[in-house]
Symmetry: C2
Subunit: 764 residues, 2 copies
């Protein structure tokens, strides 16, 4: 671990340029607006090491590469997030010598991510090999107000010379994925135009025919005043368009190029509209101008922070860490498009191919539920509702009834092809059912059940009912051949978590069916006809619930993670000799699989989700048994343990666990931030504070809180949205709860009921 | 199943051309000589469907394609058998119209594989679109006498015209693998020369720099008399050289082109010798001439059949089937090169990439032990001895001591990359130890133990001793996370077969160590120093043997295939509704894994190998339990069950099981012969007859026989080599045993001892 960036409550500051750390900085400094995203690459040429990345939401490539012995039921492709048209580029020439800081002496370098207002700034002074000294600064953002638009302000000031400054802003479709096989190229050029006052470029992906059109315009300012270029020209190459703008300026004068960009895709428009829409958007952006454009963008960010900021006093690193997480979550998913979801790397890298994992339902949903209007979380659920038919096909492919949602997907189809994941990590299906419960529980939006939820719940239940097998000898239902949340075990029998969530799904589905039957007879009949619901299957579900088998470790009085877990050699993580951790870097897969070590919360994931079922001693025994065996090598692990630790009063343990993810990417904890950020686990960090330290729960339509203050902090406060209210919770020696916005509401603090009135502070 | 080829005891006859069946015919009609092999492709152009294939022993490509989430310890590459220079090609033009039977009307087509003498003949009459009727016949072989050499005799006779016949014999390096990703091309041209009387071409593989040089010469005969061509020219293209030989002939005259080919590789010669060696070989071949060349080749075949023919009377199909198997086994491996081994498809197709599987030790070794001088089997063992260092590296990669032989290999390195196979199917290590036992037991060559065997046995034992884990609760050693021979289970705990062979290996290793220590003190000390043998580890091995855990199914009184096998839904194969078999075509992998169905002998494999340990009732209970649950979807399965069935007196069952593999490829039983032949399983068929029906065993240096005659047969006889003797066993109402060659020897027939004298017949 290395603390590279300066501490600051709102800014991520890189104060000197370290080329070896550039990929990490690029990941950290990524910008996104839900529609597209860019890594923190430089605008001007940079010949040093860099992972260039521009990503457009929902655009992927279906890779068909096959390795090993193919198995029946395998998906047709493995999805790849595609690197698309690079629109940030501005080549800069100083007296015809190209600016490239890898080849200059650089001073006063600063790259700053402003999380409060959502932009990236950079400034530096360079001396090139002609001994010309130049001051450069730039600022860019991807608009949260109009997600098609981006803008860059690029400023150059000669310090010790008069001379020619040439800007060549460009759109470059010649991009490749770094992870592609054999340097395969995924884009074809469709259309391009370059004129002095407008350029655009349309690229098309191979196989899927996704199209992206980017357009750009620019303006020039000298010493703050709009000017025309001394010389204007255009450059057209394959998959590439650029302007070339030359000006002679004097020492000390500042010349600024503002580049306005628009990007539209055929996910949103017809192919024949793309150019028109891109032109419209870029024309409007230029009309509005950089300053007003960024003001509107900042307004959106201010609104976001209003809704979901967490303030920590007395620990600036923690403050920076949690804001960094909230910032990137807000950049990744805005909830405007129900066809989109949250990729584990968001718009910050290529890794993990397909976009959607169970991370969304298990880790991200709670964040979005509490930090945005409920439509946003609802869109995440509707994403799955819209994929129901594909999930049914997926189950059918495996010879099973009902619906099996994919483990990894871009469009509803399974797009990961390792059998132990695709075929066996079926607990994800339960998480999708649980998300419906979670959403309805939190928002109170029971209509969701009749409008969407019931169909999903029934089809998932049908899957479970077909996937179990009855064991005559034991008179029990079992679920064989699964991979649980702990991916350090594959193909186990009777993973306790999977069996638990399967039986729970059946039970919840029955309750929802009864609820709709009782309250919306007509709708019930309609749905029941549509999906062919019958009493016999519900009777069967009840039998499965009654006779579900749950492994239990008698000697320890704990739930058994799976059959045979105790046959493994029992070693605790703390007793591992130095140099073994992380085991995923130091051990062979074979050794990991045979060991007792747990990658991420598995039994504890179930205890977290179905917490109210277990008495505190049971929870304690399980935590005390499993936590010492857990290596937390998934970034999704510590938050769950941390929340349970809070519940058990293990305050220091809870804080230690929280620390493992709080600054995971900011401090490059796992040495892999160069690949991109761990977006989905960021929601887990938020959960550690709000659900863990804050003790937030929703039960019977009421908000419960049970906060404590970690020793290292003086105070913290968080804001949550709950049933159209914004509630601020401030924890110090005292606790202050403020209803910032919305109608009066009651809350439970340490199980005691209090009433909140708008703008009144409740202090305890 | 379809009986496509005519029945004949020595020939495989295709009597009319079926283009849709051509790939199957090509596989069946493959020729090989241990050094190289070719599928039954046509010499002249054929624009219809065909899998063109020329393979050179030991030449492969290390494919680095990766899919899914990479795991530590994975191999660096996946080996691909490469399709190499096509040397059989002869383009034929009739009055300048190219002969292509896909575009002509064809009659009297005949393609015949002569198994007795090892050549392929073809003849047909074509009428082309110019209405020229032509008779064509050809004959080719790959010399078993000089494995660098091949020859083709290609004859053309105009039936209804006078005209120009043009032959263009060529060497073509522009070949691709059908299974390559993105049509990747694996060969570079290094050198080529074409003259009127000699052409050669050297190609080099990418990455590995394997080189192959082919040279060719030809001669022309008109009506049996050598002639010169009317016109001679050469053709040189990229990766391609050819002669062009034109002659005007009259109706009814026969013109023959004889093409002599040599092929050498830099596995046998230095790069700078290749051309010289290829020229030498082809010059010599032409000098000797086609007729003498084929005579020498036939002599070798006659010798082979002397040693290992099986004669079946009263069932021509069975006769043809078993000879087909023996023929292809002899073509695939000749034992001359200890760097070579037996690929599951031999030289008949691309599938299965790497060349060597545990098939060699478990299934092929018994065949070669009994059918060839013992040096041949010894070379198979030395192949593994030579790879010991790589097997140690492989174990180390997984974090384990000792040696883990690869599951699939070309050069000693693991070259398959599915964790459940590579990391977990470790029972292969036991088969390699067992092969040493098997070889020494059969041949009596105890010197092998001190010269080679002990090091391999010790390192494999060290692997097992490190791979087990001690279970305190049960006071037992366990082997977790394995895949047994039944690949329809992955990542199971305590596979009975694996635990059995692991403990057996430790025990055998200790016995071998003691034997060498007692008999060759000096050698013992030398080896013991070399490999750092110490008493402590042997004590540990003894403890593991004593406390090894073996799953047992109490209710059934049988060994448990693995922990938890009885938790599966217990269904018998016979109770599966129609349309489910084969499950590997009809079921998803997920369903297969969860089912109780067994792909191939697993517990029974152990009972077969360690037969003397178990009383007949135990064997019976296990057979009766496991056989009805076995789908035999590995071609390696039925032979093992068939042999045990013989032992149990289940004669009809034994014969039924035998039939499942006897004509597997000849009748395209599994509908996959188009990909190539199942070479390694052919040895299993041989075992079914000799070890099963014949009851052949070797115990305490004595040969035991216990033959019975299947109902469907009138008589059968087989020849085996045993301790430098050739023994013929003929089974009818009587049994005749003849010592065909070698010193007097005793044999046991139904456990009764008899003495054999050379050329005397023992009749019982």
């Amino acid at each position: 671990m290395k603390q590279y960036f300066n501490e600051n409550e709102w800014l991520i500051i890189e104060n000197a340029f370290d080329p070896d750390y550039n990929r990490v900085s690029e990941s950290v400094m990524s910008l996104g607006n839900g529609h597209m995203g860019i890594r923190g690459n430089f605008e001007e040429k940079y010949s040093g090491d860099s992972l260039q990345g521009t990503y457009y939401a929902g655009i992927y490539y279906p890779d068909k590469t096959k390795v090993g012995w193919w198995k029946n039921g395998y998906p047709n492709f493995f999805a790849k997030v595609l690197n698309g048209i690079n629109f940030i580029g501005i080549r800069v020439h100083i007296n015809d010598l190209e600016l490239d800081i890898a080849k200059c002496s650089v001073s006063d370098f600063k790259r700053v991510l402003n999380m409060q207002h959502g932009y990236l700034e950079r400034s530096f002074i360079v001396e090139d090999k002609n001994n010309n000294i130049t001051k450069v600064s730039c600022k860019r953002f991807l608009s949260m107000y109009d997600s098609k638009v981006a803008a860059i302000k690029y400023s150059v000031t000669p310090i010790n010379y008069n001379g020619k400054i040439t800007f060549s802003p460009y759109l470059d479709g010649k991009v490749v994925n770094e992870d592609s096989n054999y340097d395969e190229y995924f884009w074809n050029e469709i259309d391009k135009v370059a004129t002095d006052n407008l350029c655009y470029l349309t690229m098309q992906t191979k196989k899927m025919d996704f199209r992206v059109t980017c357009a750009m315009k620019h303006e020039l300012l000298k010493n703050g005043i709009n000017i025309d270029a001394d010389k204007n020209s255009i450059i057209i190459e394959d998959n590439y368009v650029a302007n070339k703008v030359e000006n002679i300026i004097s020492m000390g004068e500042e010349i600024i190029l503002i580049k306005y960009i628009s990007a539209v895709t055929n996910r949103d428009f017809n192919n024949n509209e793309l150019v028109t829409k891109a032109k419209e958007a870029v024309n409007k952006a230029k009309e509005i101008g950089f300053n007003r454009l960024i003001s509107k963008h900042i307004e959106v960010w201010e609104q976001k922070w209003q809704e979901n900021d967490i303030i920590i006093k007395g620990d600036e690193k923690a403050q920076q860490g949690i804001r960094f997480n909230i910032f990137h979550l807000n950049q990744t998913y805005t909830g405007k498009d129900p066809r989109l979801n949250i990729g584990p790397k968001g718009f910050t890298g290529e890794k993990y191919g397909g976009s959607t994992y169970w991370d969304t339902e298990a880790y991200c949903l709670p964040f979005y539920l509490s930090t945005a209007p409920s439509e946003l979380a609802k869109n995440l659920l509707i994403y799955r509702y819209n994929h129901l038919e594909k999930a049914k096909e997926n189950a059918k492919k495996l010879g099973l009834k009902g619906a099996l949602y994919p483990m990894v997907t871009m469009n509803g189809e399974e797009c990961h092809n390792e059998w132990e994941i695709t075929f066996e990590e079926i607990h994800r299906n339960g998480a999708i059912a649980y998300a419906i419960y979670n959403y309805v529980n939190y928002t109170g939006d029971k209509d969701y059940l009749k409008d969407y939820g019931i169909e999903v719940l029934v089809e998932i239940s049908r899957f479970w009912a077909d996937r179990v097998n009855y064991n005559k000898l034991k008179d029990k239902y079992m679920i064989l051949g699964v991979t649980g949340p702990n991916e350090y075990e594959n193909n186990v029998n009777n993973n306790w978590y999977t069996n638990t969530i399967a039986a729970w799904t059946l039970d919840y589905a029955i309750k929802v069916i009864d609820y709709i039957n009782e309250n919306y007879k007509d709708i019930y009949n309609m749905i029941s006809n549509k999906i062919g619901l019958n009493k016999k299957e519900i009777t069967k579900w009840k039998e499965i619930i009654d006779k579900m088998y749950y492994p239990y470790i008698k000697e320890e009085g704990v739930f058994g993670q799976q059959d045979g877990y105790m046959d493994k050699e029992q070693i605790l993580v703390k007793d591992l000799p130095e140099g073994n951790l992380p085991i995923n870097k130091n051990w062979s897969w074979d050794r990991i699989l045979r060991s007792c070590f747990i990658k991420q919360a598995d039994v504890m994931q179930g205890i977290y989700m179905f917490n109210e079922r277990y008495d505190i001693n049971t929870i304690k025994r399980n935590f005390d048994f499993y936590e010492p065996r857990t290596v937390h090598e998934s970034s999704l692990s510590p938050c769950i343990y941390s929340i349970i630790a809070c519940q058990l009063g293990y305050k220091e343990k809870a804080y230690d666990l929280y620390l493992r993810t709080a600054r995971l990417d900011l401090d490059n904890y796992n040495c892999d931030t160069d690949d991109g950020l761990h977006i989905t686990s960021m929601a887990g960090t938020w959960m550690s504070i709000v659900h863990g330290f804050g003790g937030l729960e929703v039960k019977n339509n009421e908000l419960f809180l049970a906060p404590f203050l970690p020793k290292a902090w003086k105070e913290y406060s968080f804001r949550v949205m709950f049933r159209s209210r914004i509630i601020n919770v401030c924890v110090n020696d005292y606790i202050k709860i403020t209803l910032v916005k919305g109608k009066d509401i009651s809350v439970y603090l340490y199980n005691q009921k209090y009433y909140l009135v708008e703008n009144n502070v409740l202090e305890i």
